[in-house]
Amino acid sequence: MAALSAWIPMRWPAGPLDISQREKKEGFTAKSKEVLQRWLDPSVLEILRGTPVNCLVVSWAAGLPADAEQQKALVPLLDRGKSAGLSFVGLVEGEANRAAAVESARAAGLAAVIMEGEVLNAGLPVLPLAARPHLPWNSSSPVLVARGNVWPGIASQGLNSQDWRRDTQASGPTAEPWIDSNGWFLRLAKVYAPAKIPWLLFDPPGGANVVLADAYRRAIADSGSFCGRWIVSLDDALRASLAQKEQSAVETWNSIAGALAFFAQHSQWETNSPVGLVGVISDFSGANEMIGTETLNLMVRSNVPFRIIRKSKLAAAPLTGYKALISVDEAMPAPAERRRLLDFARQGGALLVSQSWKGEGGTPTGTAHPRLDLRKLGKGKFAVCKDEAPDPYMVARDIHVLLSRANDFSRFFNLSAFLSAHTARPDGASALLQITNFAGSSRFSVNQVTVWFPQQYRAARMWTMGSEAPVALELEPENTGMDVQIPSISPYAAVEVALQPLA
């Protein structure tokens, strides 16, 4: 069996407990029930043969009458799976007696359990479960499991959904697609617990939604790009078809498995460091949780590279390498940190702060602005939010303007709905830009994408899910930097660029 940190997890809903939990929910049908019964059959495990999935997450206890029946029903599946080298993890939820659930899991030979809270002397690994962003970062577990995640994709409704706005969708900057992503949380997790692996618990859209292979691949890429692992979860229709070995379902599953294998093969990318000239400072908790986490979410969405600075570490955090800082927590930092940030602005940085900083200095620039009191401070810019509760969407947009696109790490062409993760190798030898394209059908081609970098890169290559080897990309000098020409992004590409030839 693989070590816990090497587990590639998949949700395996099957049996009486899943039926009991699901049958009370809208959209549950006789077919749903049939699928949940069918997936108890050990023969279905055959779909995992040759895939990187090595860990199955099964429903174990929820404090319901069906718990005991579930644990009994799972025995054949567990036996077959374990003999095939699979690890099983029991999901303990709801009002379940945790100690009893852990004991039964241990007795049944489960490799671990996922649950909220702690159990002393559990006798098997307990993977802590919590709603993001409240994971127990200091837990001894190498894996933390977050719930409350989103299905990555273009949201069905934009932030502003007035009728007049809908008419402009997919037509330009007034209709920026609203992409749901878990990237921001994974970025935060990497800061709070750099050595741990965050697992994300979420399901595909249910009901009548048809989930295409590319949607699954995007979900995997959204986690993989930001160093997390999605506990792969298939929709009812796909699971039903897979059990019947339908060709199209098998092809979809193979592409999902290929995506999982891709990120497993490139796990070394997780040692890369995020790059970015913008620093987001917050304690991301209490009164600041919403503004702090939403600012991260919107920064990811705006594709402006950024780094996270925990407020508790601000005093010692090096600020060299930053050109702009956001500090929109409700209260000002302690005096020493406050002075540090103001000095950052005086020395030429751009500092965007919450309303509580009002009166902290600087001279008005005289530039009218609906949301910011724009001031000059020393050589830099000092922007104080006018609203007590600033809109994180605007914070992300305004910091980009304050920073100026002159400082862009990259510029994208022929992409209309995408997220990017920009990192650098620890030795600085190369940079990696992972792009997930969320445009299912764009009026612009998703082929012939260009990414411009300000550096004079001499080598570029691209990995895509499903291909083992990278392909070399064409570079063209443009505007003092380099255009990197990408043949297609469907739905993901990882572009590595370097100043020297790549080995």
Binding site: N160, T168, P173, F412, N414, F444, Q448, N479
Partner: protein, 416 residues
């Protein structure tokens, strides 16, 4: 000595006649529409070492830039049409649908050499008013420093908004106008001594071709003429990114106090309306220098999409009368500048050149236009045949095929 006539009044009262200021010709009544020499230059790349001498020679043949710009404030209307992050294949914007930044900077440098006082770069950019216009250049991957260093004073104004003015400036169409009696525009279109239009030459579905005349359509601020004029998104971004509802379809009247159209019962067909709006605008806001970038471009449309074709005509056309210049440009594209509706490229629209000619702006009769420098025949690039070959009968069509060159010539897919 004070003349008592402000710059604003001068523009408003002279109207189309101001187009002839550089020419010293009348433009009204039964007098034939004005004509002025149009220069054609052969240019095979955007290297400044090639652009500068070609442009300088062309301007010399037109009488020299000094007469036009010395000591003056010049507004240059850019041709930012079709999106700042959209490319035709891998081609940078300046190679396909925007005029090339090197060409604009070369023009600015030559103006500087000729003694220009200040250059203001103007365009209606669909970005929030709180975002400096320069950021739009950067988004398109243009180097702002190149522009700033090309003239003594360089200003950037997003003319979708009011800028430093308290209200939009009203420009009346001489002779009453064809679609609107007047247009409300950003102050920069009035607060300049010299107005320059630099545009790419492209095909255009609605009005046949898009060059220095069609560029004028973009003078109209979304604030007043945009699809959702009068509404705002996110407080500082005007809603809607084009003018379809008001100017193309006539489904609504302008907002922000701008004048209503002359005849609400006139056709709602964009092939009728848009050419008239353009003719109105070239009459209301006269162009003193028009420059068409035909070094590289694309055939089949004005906004990049995979069905369009990258082309390399290798020429620049410039003139002091925008209609004359447009006429010569069309001829260099192998189109008939006097063509009637129903003939290529005016398949489904009225001919905006003829409409502007009716307004007294300039002639589109090639027999009355002196061409200096290279001849039309020498440089002609056959946009017409490329367009006729398109499966859809003009627009759209072929996807994924190799880019075309001139008929019989090599493919033009490579970047330069």
């Amino acid at each position: 000595m004070q003349s008592g006539i402000t710059r604003r009044k001068a523009v408003g009262s002279l109207g189309a006649a101001a187009a002839g200021m550089f020419l010293g010709r009348p433009a009204r009544g039964s007098v034939p529409a004005p004509t002025a020499p149009v220069a054609i230059g052969k240019c095979t790349s955007y290297q400044p070492s090639e652009l500068l001498p070609v442009l300088e020679d062309m301007f010399d043949k037109l009488g020299g830039l000094g007469r036009l710009v010395k000591g003056k404030t010049v507004a240059i209307k850019l041709n930012f049409n079709g999106g700042s992050t959209v490319r035709l294949g891998y081609h940078p914007l300046g190679e396909s649908h925007w005029p090339h930044p090197h060409l604009i900077c070369a023009v600015m440098s030559l103006m500087t050499k000729a003694g220009v006082r200040r250059v203001r770069l103007v365009e209606c950019a669909p970005i929030p008013w709180t975002t400096p216009f320069e950021e739009y250049f950067l988004e398109a991957n243009w180097n702002v420093r190149d522009f700033i260093s090309s003239a003594p004073i360089v200003e950037f104004e997003n003319t979708n908004y009011l800028g430093s003015a308290k209200k939009l400036s009203r420009l009346t169409v001489p002779n009453g106008g064809l679609l609107f009696p007047a247009y409300d525009l950003n102050h920069s279109y009035v607060d300049c001594d010299v107005f320059v239009s630099i545009a790419k030459c492209k095909d255009h579905g609605t009005t046949g071709v898009s060059t220095v005349m069609k560029n004028q359509f973009g003078l109209t601020p979304l604030l007043a003429y945009g699809n959702f004029a009068g509404k705002w998104e996110d407080n500082d971004l005007v809603a809607g990114i084009d003018r379809i509802r008001i100017l193309h379809q006539g489904a609504a009247q302008p907002a922000f106090g701008a004048p209503a159209e002359l005849d609400p019962k006139s056709p709602r067909d964009d092939g009728y309306r848009v050419p008239r709006a353009i003719a109105d605008l070239v009459a209301a806001r006269p162009v003193h220098l028009a420059i068409t970038d035909g070094v590289t471009s694309m055939s089949g449309g004005q906004t990049p999409n995979p069905s369009l074709t990258f082309v390399k005509p290798n020429w620049i056309v410039a003139g002091t009368n925008v209609v004359n210049t447009s006429a010569v440009t069309l001829a260099a594209m192998n189109y008939d500048p006097m063509g009637q509706k129903g003939t290529m490229p005016f398949n489904r629209c009225d001919n905006k050149l003829r409409l502007a000619e009716q307004l007294g702006v300039g002639t589109c009769d090639l027999s009355r236009i002196e061409v200096v420098g290279r001849s039309i025949k020498e440089v002609a690039f056959d946009f017409k045949t490329l367009r006729e070959k398109r499966p859809a009968g003009g627009f759209g069509g072929r996807r994924g095929g190799p880019p075309d060159g001139p008929p019989g010539g090599p493919p033009m897919g490579g970047r330069n």
